[in-house]
């Protein structure tokens, strides 16, 4: 075990049963993620990217191999070393997912509470952790809305009245409010128009840099990977066909599929 590793996947795999036979959504995934590092997972649809992300975030259980995470212990700044997620209780996992992790869904509607205001959405995690002061919650919500460049006058509006880009920003704010160390993002920019995408990416890059966030970003957009990620993982049919530094993989693709992927990018 190397020191300083935040998240480690070891031969992780997930199979779904189909007609009584297992069909591997992803298999034999190995990588280490260090604090502050951004890893992009790219590949075509159906290649197992999202399944992998759900495995890493313990939303699915591994059928093979394991995922380990460096859990922060109750005492400040001390760590217990890597813990197998499968060995943790559900209460611990839910606590971890609420405090040390964030999960940005592809569709903001899945990650937001649509029947309460934007401010309440940002405050939810804090209230779950025991914040009981309305004034402080409100301050925190306002400051986070500013940080993700949302109009603070809309703090009491329902997320349903926000535009798609704003909903995505709100979702990010809601996840970052507890100062997580690791954020999982499932195609955070899909479905937004290019100018909104560019601004969102810009903001994400700043936040990642400022908060020293580690992130696993699933995307099929190579430009997103190039902009955000230091390292990338290329998946095809549930297998990792290539991984390495983003610039290396994109500029000098080794695997035939990666070459195809890189050469398919449209340039206007």
């Amino acid at each position: 075990m190397k020191p300083g590793v935040l998240l480690s996947a070891r031969q992780a795999g997930k199979a779904f049963m189909q007609n009584g036979k297992p069909r591997w959504a992803c298999r034999d995934v190995n990588f280490d993620l260090y604090p502050g590092e951004v890893l992009a997972v790219v590949g075509e649809s159906g290649s197992g990217k999202t399944s992998l992300l759900r495995l890493l975030a313990a939303r699915l259980a591994c059928d093979e191999g394991s995922v380990h995470y460096e859990v922060r212990s109750e005492q400040a700044n001390e760590t217990d070393g890597l813990t197998d997620l499968a060995q943790m209780s559900e209460a611990q996992l839910r606590r971890l997912a609420r405090t040390d992790w964030g999960f940005v869904e592809q569709h903001a509607r899945d990650g937001l509470r649509m029947n309460v205001s934007g401010g309440a959405n940002v405050g939810e995690r804090l209230m779950a952790l025991g914040a009981r002061n309305y004034g402080h919650l409100r301050q925190e919500a306002l400051s986070w809305m500013q940080r993700v460049e949302l109009d603070t006058a809309r703090i009491d509006d329902l997320p349903g009245t926000y535009s798609g880009g704003m909903q995505q920003r709100l979702q990010i704010a809601r996840n970052l409010v507890t100062q997580p160390r690791l954020v999982f993002m499932d195609e955070p920019t899909t479905g937004l128009d290019v100018s909104v995408q560019a601004r969102l990416l810009d903001m994400l890059r700043e936040l990642v840099d400022e908060l020293q966030l580690a992130a696993v970003v699933v995307t099929h957009d190579l430009a997103v990977a190039r902009l955000l990620a230091q390292r990338m993982l290329v998946m095809k049919d549930g297998c990792v066909v290539e991984q390495g530094l983003t610039d290396r993989v994109l500029d000098d693709p080794q695997h035939a599929y990666t070459q195809l992927l890189v050469s398919s990018v449209l340039t206007p």
Binding site: V116, S117, M127, L129, G130, R132, N133
Partner: protein, 307 residues
């Protein structure tokens, strides 16, 4: 006049025993919702089938029963349920809170302090306080198990953000024994503090939802709130028109087409007792203009609170 065709208290002995077993579990884990095999009763759901089943399974020959509906003993629901038990058990019934050993109630806790010798049975329409916030029952059960009650505060936050104050006036969520989040049934929040460390055993039954729960005697019950928006009970500018009480929960009745209002105690037995003791109210309705001035004062106050 007892109906001889039914078993004592309508339900058969096995059913009553099973409900009592569920009640024991409920008392052992204060505030925890215990599932039970709710039976069809000769009432429609919403008329207190849960409370009636609990009362039926714990009532004995020597009990004295009182039934309250919205504080009063003489409204439809109370009269029906009292007559039901008179016919199926033959036990004595009373309207006096102090004389009763078993009190079934809907929407109120009596104003008179209860004693260790009394049991209070509540009729509950919706036992799950998180139901409106989290539609998946599996998830709410998990939230209770892990004591994850942040969501309830999200609802309260939302009230303050939109309305300037926590607007919930009844069925105000409470934390029992600092562990389980509980719906106190639709009693006004005015009654919430009475549940705290109450010497009487409090039992809750929801017939349609097939759940029952309990607050044992002397159990802490805390109403949820924020540090800077503490829990408060309703207050009235007016006294009861009949008995002059200022400390009780008042009903507001419109008495003419000019909008005049009569404020009277919702607890009819309490009001009667006070009148018998010689207390007299103004006997007058409050005119619309004075009600409106009072309301506009409140409006300004709540706006200030929001700012």
């Amino acid at each position: 006049m007892i109906e001889q065709h039914y078993n004592f208290a309508f339900l058969d002995e096995r059913t009553k025993k099973r409900i009592r077993r569920a009640l024991l579990k409920a008392v052992a884990v204060p505030g925890y919702q215990v599932p039970f095999g709710s039976r069809e009763m000769p009432f429609a759901y919403g008329w207190g089938t849960g409370g009636v089943q609990i009362t039926a399974s714990i009532i004995g020959q020597s009990d004295v029963l009182k039934v309250i509906d919205q504080g009063a003993d003489d409204t439809t629901n109370a009269v029906n349920i009292r007559r039901f038990f008179e016919r199926t058990t033959g036990v004595a019934s009373t309207e006096k809170t102090r004389e009763a050993t078993l009190i079934q109630t809907r929407h109120r806790i009596p104003e008179v302090a209860l004693t260790e010798a009394q049991i209070l049975v509540y009729q509950v329409p919706m036992p799950e306080p998180l139901a409106r916030l989290e539609p998946r029952r599996r998830e709410t059960i998990k939230m209770h198990a892990l004591s994850e009650y942040g969501l309830m505060h999200v609802r309260l936050y939302e009230d303050i953000a939109q309305l300037g104050a926590i607007s919930r006036a009844y069925d105000y969520p409470v934390l029992v024994n600092e562990r389980y989040l509980m719906s106190p049934s639709p009693i006004p929040k005015f009654d919430n503090p009475k549940m705290h460390m109450n010497p009487a055993l409090q039992l809750f039954g929801a017939g349609r939802e097939k759940r029952l729960y309990a607050v044992p005697p002397y159990t802490p019950v805390r109403s949820l709130d924020f540090e800077d928006h503490p829990f408060e009970v309703q207050k009235w500018e007016h006294a009861c028109a009949l008995c002059g009480a200022t400390e009780s929960y008042l009903d507001e009745m419109i008495v003419d087409d000019q909008g005049s209002r009569l404020f009277v105690c919702s607890d009819s037995n309490y009001c009667e007792e006070r009148r018998d003791a010689g207390h007299v109210g103004t006997q007058l309705a409050v005119t619309l203009s004075s009600v409106l001035t009072h309301q506009s004062d409140c409006g300004i106050a709540s706006e200030r609170g929001a700012a």
